[in-house]
Amino acid sequence: MNLNNWLRKNTYHHSAFADLKDLVEQKEKTGLMISLCIPTLNEERTIGKEVVIFKSELMNRYPLVDEIAVIDSGSKDRTLEVASSFGADTFLSEEILPEEGSKRGKGENLWKAIHQLKGDIIVYIDADIKNIHPRFVYGLIGPLIQRPEVSYVKAFYDRPLAFSDSVRPSGGGRVTEILTRPLFSLFFPELTAIIQPLSGEYAVRRSVLESIPFPVGYGVETSHLIDVYQKHGMTAFAQTDLDQRVHRNQETRALGKMSFGILQTFLKRLHSYGTIQTEQEIQTVLRQFQVRNDVYEAVEYDIPEYERPPMITVPAYREAWGLPPLKK
């Protein structure tokens, strides 16, 4: 596949879908139901605004979204109180599918959202976005409403405040450019066309979401891209420029942990798809270093990338959706 052709055909700017009246009419013709999931962990400062803006603009004013749910990993602050005070449906992740147990991590919330929410399309939006705007949702939904062959729409952010030249570099954050894109270039070159593979905002058809496994930690976005690519190819993907995203910046050491989780997921995928063969067990302990009283010491972090199975294989989900039990 010619990457530039794919980019031309499958890369959008959110303004292409800004006529919400028209987009709602198109949605109604398709009969699609759309759910919005906001995974949270201690996001009391930003969650209220997200809920108010999405509910008011995309449910009350233009009925583009049919339900909004906040799925929380056990916040210690007032995240759930704030979200529910502004009218969001709020859920504790551990209380969804309790028979499946509970894992810590954003991916766990995303996975359980598939069971909890009813939409044919689920839009995931991170809760830490300071400059939240309805475009974060309609920009991702638009391609799915207009193009049945597209199943997975990823956000990217690409509006420099000032740039004088006609050619400028474009891409993702530090982990994307140092880790993910080099790995994709080595093993899945076509996926390098996804400009920000790690962005936390994406909209996906249920039929795709329920059929892929979910790492509960840092690797969830990477695994999605690889798994959907393996099953459906690049035609399933589109991406939308949502302009700027203002959020908390992470320290380099935190990005180290993130990279470690992503790398684990990546290596598991390479192994399971037979791209590389290794008998060696992948380690789950990341070691970083610090100096205490002029003495160097290692600090160990256990970061296992536990994976949830495809939701379609979970008995309670099959029952809820009227699917026959799987044969043992």
Partner: protein
Amino acid sequence: MNAQCETILEDLDEYVVQLEDFRETLLSTMVMVNEIPAPTFKERNRAVFLVDRFSELEMLNASIDEKDNVLGIIPGRRGDRDILVVAHLDSLFDETVDHTVTLEPALAIGPGVSDNSLGVAVLGTLPLILERIGLELDANLVLLGSSRSLGQGDLEGLRFVLDNYKRPFTAAVCLEGVKIGRLSFSSIGMLRGELTYKIPEQYDWTKFNSVGAIVDMNDMINRILEIPLPRKPKTTIVMGQMEAGTSYNTLPVKARLRFEIRSESDEIVSDLATRINFLAEEMTSKTGAMVRFKEIARRKSGGTEFSHPLNTIGREILKRLDITPRIAPSTSEVAALIDKGIPAVTIGLTSGESAGELEESVLIEPISKGLAQLAALLKAIDIGCSNES
């Protein structure tokens, strides 16, 4: 008050209840307005947002004029009179300030939320507010997001509309975020001035008593404060802003002082301006520095009487809402309307804190009463309760 006007008061409680669940629409609009920076003279982006809202709500003549004012009309059933509702678009904060709003269950926090994003948001949702309570007016409602209001803007946007709008306005209501209970129907005399102090490049620093701009400007402030002010008519001088200096040990060569003279008497305002100008000239001759006085804005005193029917119904509405009316003169939009002889009142929509600071906030719960107050006031004007018989 006649029986028809009494019925307006009776509807108030129901308005409050009906408007309680309108807060999401209003807050969402307020957040989006606030996050578009709009310092005075740079309101264009905020104006585009508002005019888009006006167009979506199918207002007539939704447009941006050459001063970046936004105007839209909700046509009345008869359309034989025009009532103006105005909220200024500009804010005190520069584009470089983080305009992000935080929403908590009880309040919204962000620079400019009360002055005047809430007012602009009410303007941008007014057709929906009226629809929610089933209020249709006979008169046209002319909604105006006015530009260039604050500071050096000197109400330029509103004045432009008043000079060029082709029909007379029956009355006007000006919207400000805070504080609910406020009723401003008169303007005090006001002059906004700037004193600049500059030491010429060829200045001889070995000259005896060279102290630099800050000390000299401090001397100037003391001399202004020594000017005796009468208790009646009420008069005050506000020292609002001062800029000077760059480091610990460098004598500053420039300074700027911004101040405001307020008085119930226009003559006293003029007299004080003359005196301050004289002090500036005197300092120039004594120090060798260039001290200049510049008039930035001026308002004439005036307004309607306390007993004017518009003000009377305004107070009655507040009392019925269990809010104590706070009568205070204003130097904002209402002043330009008074200049044109248009009965006008400024109202506040909710309570808030830290106005003019980065942590500016508005309380969410009182907003429904603020909206009910506005709706009732518009209805009162529409059916003639505000007319002088």
